[in-house]
Symmetry: C2
Subunit: 246 residues, 2 copies
């Protein structure tokens, strides 16, 4: 798939923001407006809410990465935003909403249907994006992966050798198969957990953290719900990537 | 009790270290060698290992506090170091060692005997130390409390109004009575947990974190045993005190 830049603007004279398409997939790349040497890259994962809706938060994180001497890029998830609908995924989401509204247990079958095909496809697309992005002269490894659907992060952390450090956000259901993949992760991890996240099972998040095979892993739990991550948590995550990518 | 300075030295031209006695209790105060205005204070809690044995680690933390524009002080625990033995406490420690060596369960009676009298006395002494230290023109509130026996930290965080923020290290048995006191804590908390701490019950530490009544509390879990706290964990704790004391 070919990477084509579709837009370009300078923000505050500090950040060069370029919209791109990778084949049919829209994305953004943020780099320092003036950098002497190639810059290590953080791939910003997305939740399945669409790039447009997430743009302001992504831009904050991209600005912070660039201020730390790093680049950031992100890619729309399959079935999200302006990309073609994915009927099987829509069906799995409808099933999830139905059982949660009814107060019924969320079965492993629903979690698997909701997650595993998405992980396969999104991780493959992230790899393709890395091929294209790292071919640009202004970018270099090592690569960090940050946020988004945690199961996609686990898959990439376990299997993509260009990713040297991952910041994960415990905020969604994790299939048993992904918990097994977590044991094979060995790169440094920085895991955020919102202690009172209404959409998250705290014990499942602690079990996932425990499962990671990494010798260096940190869990940072803060108060509040899914969108209430405090600013200092972002600063600690930035220090983590600074230690491992620069 | 009277505070008397017993020694004074400048370290690297940056830090003024003064040994003191508060009545019979030895301690140290570290302040910026040159500070224009009174400096907020972090009280460094001690484990029951004796000030002498802990001195190198305390000095590292004191240097870090001073580099951040704060002062640090510490006080020998009752029954520790060169202070008179405390037979009841020695007995409780011997009981703990006996059941742990035998692989028997550590009863609540042992945990209470080991902890509650120590908390009462050490917290009272910390208050007296704050009275004396904050009367010095070079020190001011707000005060932070950091480390040491976590139950003493909980008592002080719950009951000492001059303490505005506490960094606690989940690393020892916590009596049920202290877990109840934790619910009354409302100041910002930064809790460190060593995920594989051989001397610590992880679930008990998570329950304690959950119990704290504070609207702002963060749990930072890292890999490794009791003495394996990574350097970046210290840096995150320093940011926490910087946010709340400066």
């Amino acid at each position: 798939m070919t990477l084509q830049f579709t837009s370009e603007q300078r923000l505050d004279g500090e950040v060069l923001e370029r919209g791109f398409t990778l084949g049919e997939i829209p994305g953004f790349l943020w780099t320092p407006a003036s950098a002497a040497a190639p810059t290590p890259l953080i791939l910003l994962g997305l939740p399945p809410l669409g790039l447009g809706r997430m743009y302001p938060r992504l831009l904050d994180r991209a600005r912070s990465a660039v201020a730390d001497g790093l680049a950031a890029a992100t890619l729309e998830l399959p079935g999200s935003g302006d990309r073609p609908r994915w009927p099987a995924l829509d069906q799995a989401r409808a099933d999830l909403r139905r059982v949660m509204t009814a107060g019924e247990p969320v079965t492993e079958a629903i979690i698997d249907a909701l997650t595993l095909p998405l992980v396969d496809r999104a991780a493959a697309e992230a790899r393709t994006a890395l091929d294209a992005l790292l071919a640009l002269p202004e970018l270099t490894g090592p690569v960090g992966y940050s946020g988004g659907v945690i199961s996609i992060g686990v898959r990439l952390a376990a299997t993509e050798p260009r990713i040297a450090a991952a910041g994960l956000f415990a905020g969604s259901f994790v299939p048993r198969a992904i918990l097994e993949e977590a044991r094979r992760v060995t790169i440094p991890l920085h895991v955020l957990l919102q202690w009172d996240d209404e959409g998250n099972d705290r014990q499942a998040a602690l079990d996932l953290f425990d499962a990671f095979g990494s010798a260096e892993k940190s869990l940072h739990a803060n108060m509040g719900g899914h969108t209430g991550v405090p600013q200092h948590a972002g600063e600690d995550a930035a220090s983590f990537f600074g230690r491992h990518l620069r």
